[in-house]
């Protein structure tokens, strides 16, 4: 095996104290609702999946993704499943060192280390050529703004790798010339960066492709998404798998509705990301926002608000069985209500018909002056519909008048 990759999600250099001990597995920024941005979905897949796919397309045979809470094997990535083990105190860098050692034992020549962190679309072959031509143990990747927390290390140089990882992929043990890339880079530090990445993906500014079928130019819809016939999806936009857009909802201006999200009737999403398993309530207007996990970040105000009211912003349960049971329950509750309403309407109709009949029996003198023209006769005996006089007036009620 020529090249393997280890993707580290979360921890960064600022989280280390002076002795190099890991202080914080998950930084306060680079996260949304305590979840690393790299694990959140962008046009159908999480950023870490997009990175793994890109590496695989570039010819990397083995990819391991590590988060602060879990150790994810390549199989999990291939299946599109990222199942954290929920071990809060896992030392992510120690796990990375172990993964590096495992690859070294397997006979891998070079190991690519990436921390997400920043999303960068560097040319992997150019990086490897640079690394080999310079005959360096370690090559760090930079862009014009600084380090990108990406490095290539010779698998045989475990000490260099350990030093590198203990410095958050930002300092090499021996002086080495960095590889400077001019490619697309997104720092992925805030929710705004996540939104920008989704916009760039929809506008084809980066190498991320929406994970769905392009139904019409600029509109991608993933499998089993349900869009009501009165809902409008205006390009560019993305609707994820199993997502639901209810009646009269509008999704526009680079908005993305990720998988299993639900947008209720009449809601307008403009330049907004709705994260997976998020319910957006009825008649809302979300613009320039990232919504999910009971939170909404308003990007223009740069405000993150926790919304406890499930009528505004809720969470759709991840269990398919539970979702089915809830849908059945809501249908069971809906049908009797409609039946009662139908009965009441029928009663009202009968009542109004009775009133009309009583009015017809009142002598014409009681209605005011006699009409100037006689009421036209029915055209035929078979015409059973109500006949209105030519001077029939409609009175509407305004306020208290």
């Amino acid at each position: 095996m020529d090249l393997a990759a280890i993707i580290i999600v979360g921890a960064r250099r600022e989280d280390f104290d002076t002795a190099g001990n890991n202080q914080l597995a998950r930084p306060a920024s680079e996260s949304f609702a305590d979840i690393p941005l790299a694990l959140l979905d962008v046009v159908g897949k999480s950023v870490v999946h997009h990175v793994a796919d890109r590496l695989r397309r570039a010819g990397v045979e083995a990819v391991t993704a590590l988060t602060a809470e879990a150790l994810c094997e390549p199989a999990a990535l291939r299946d599109g499943q990222l199942q954290p083990a929920c071990r809060q105190d896992t030392d992510i860098w120690r796990a990375a060192e172990e993964a590096f050692s495992a690859y070294a034992c397997e006979g891998v020549e070079n190991v690519l280390l990436l921390r997400l962190g920043p999303y960068a679309e560097f040319d992997l072959n150019a990086l490897l050529d640079f690394h080999r031509n310079r005959r360096q143990n370690t090559t760090l990747v930079f862009d014009q703004n600084g380090p990108l927390d990406i490095a290539v290390v010779q698998a045989a140089r475990r000490n260099d790798a350990t030093f590198l990882m203990r410095n958050g992929l930002r300092a090499a043990r021996l002086p080495a010339e960095p590889y400077v890339t001019q490619a697309y880079v997104n720092q992925l530090q805030t929710a705004q960066d996540l939104r920008r990445l989704a916009q760039d993906a929809l506008l084809m500014r980066c190498d991320i492709h929406p994970h769905g079928q392009e139904l019409k130019p600029g509109v991608w819809v993933a499998e089993r998404a349900r869009i009501h016939r009165t809902a409008r999806v205006l390009a560019p936009a993305f609707v994820g798998a199993h997502a639901k857009l209810r009646a009269a909802s509008v999704v526009t201006r680079c908005s993305t509705v990720e998988h299993h999200a639900e947008v209720d009737c009449g809601t307008v999403l403009e330049d907004t990301t709705v994260l997976p398993y998020t319910y957006v309530g009825t008649g809302l207007d979300a613009a320039h926002a990232v919504a999910g996990f009971g939170r909404i970040v308003q990007l223009r105000r740069q405000t993150e608000v926790e919304i406890a009211d499930s009528r505004l912003l809720g969470t759709v349960t991840a269990s398919a069985t539970w979702r089915t049971v809830k849908s059945a329950a809501s249908l069971a509750a809906y049908l009797p209500v409609q039946a009662v309403r139908g009965l009441l309407r029928g009663g009202r109709r009968a009542q109004s018909a009775a009133v009309a009949h009583t009015d017809a029996e009142i002598p014409a003198s009681h209605h005011g002056p006699a009409p100037l023209e006689p009421t036209p006769e029915p055209l035929s005996a078979s015409n059973q519909g109500p006949q209105f006089a030519g001077d029939f007036a409609v009175v509407r009620r305004y306020g208290n008048e």
Partner: protein, 141 residues
């Protein structure tokens, strides 16, 4: 043109959920039902607000309109602003940066846009007087 009626400023609680909204609504009912009430709700301390809070605001607005009064919102905290924007309720209220701006807005007859034009006219007149130009002072007058 001023007004002799008082402007009542009411500070909103820091959390507006169903229970708080009910309590607040009960508290302000007498104020809403006075003759042509002029109310300002101060949102500076609101940290959490949900749909019940928005419902309560709309009910208050409806009540105030019945009595030919007006209700204005002031000093919206970012959290309240986001919720009002999300529920489209921000379009239904006059919203001011500060409480004093909201209170002052009751004392003038002219709407804000017209007042800006008037201020602009006065400023133009002042500059023209300095320059010795007569036409601008006529416009301001």
């Amino acid at each position: 043109m001023g007004t002799s009626r008082p402007v009542i400023v009411k500070r909103m609680p820091d959390r507006i959920n169903l229970q708080q909204a009910r309590e607040f609504s009960r508290e302000v009912q007498p104020l809403l039902r006075s003759d042509r009430p002029q109310l300002v709700f101060d949102f500076s301390s609101v940290r959490r607000m949900d749909a019940a809070g928005v419902d309560m605001l709309l009910e208050c607005m409806a009540e105030v309109m019945k009595y030919d009064g007006d209700l204005k919102l002031a000093a919206l905290s970012p959290q309240a602003a986001v919720v009002l924007e999300l529920t489209r309720a921000d379009r239904l209220f006059e919203i001011y940066e500060t409480v004093s701006d909201a209170v002052r807005s009751f004392s003038g007859f002219l709407p804000n846009a017209m007042r800006k034009y008037a201020e602009w006219g006065v400023a133009a007149a002042a500059s023209s007087v300095e320059n010795g130009d007569d036409t601008s002072s006529k416009i301001a007058a």
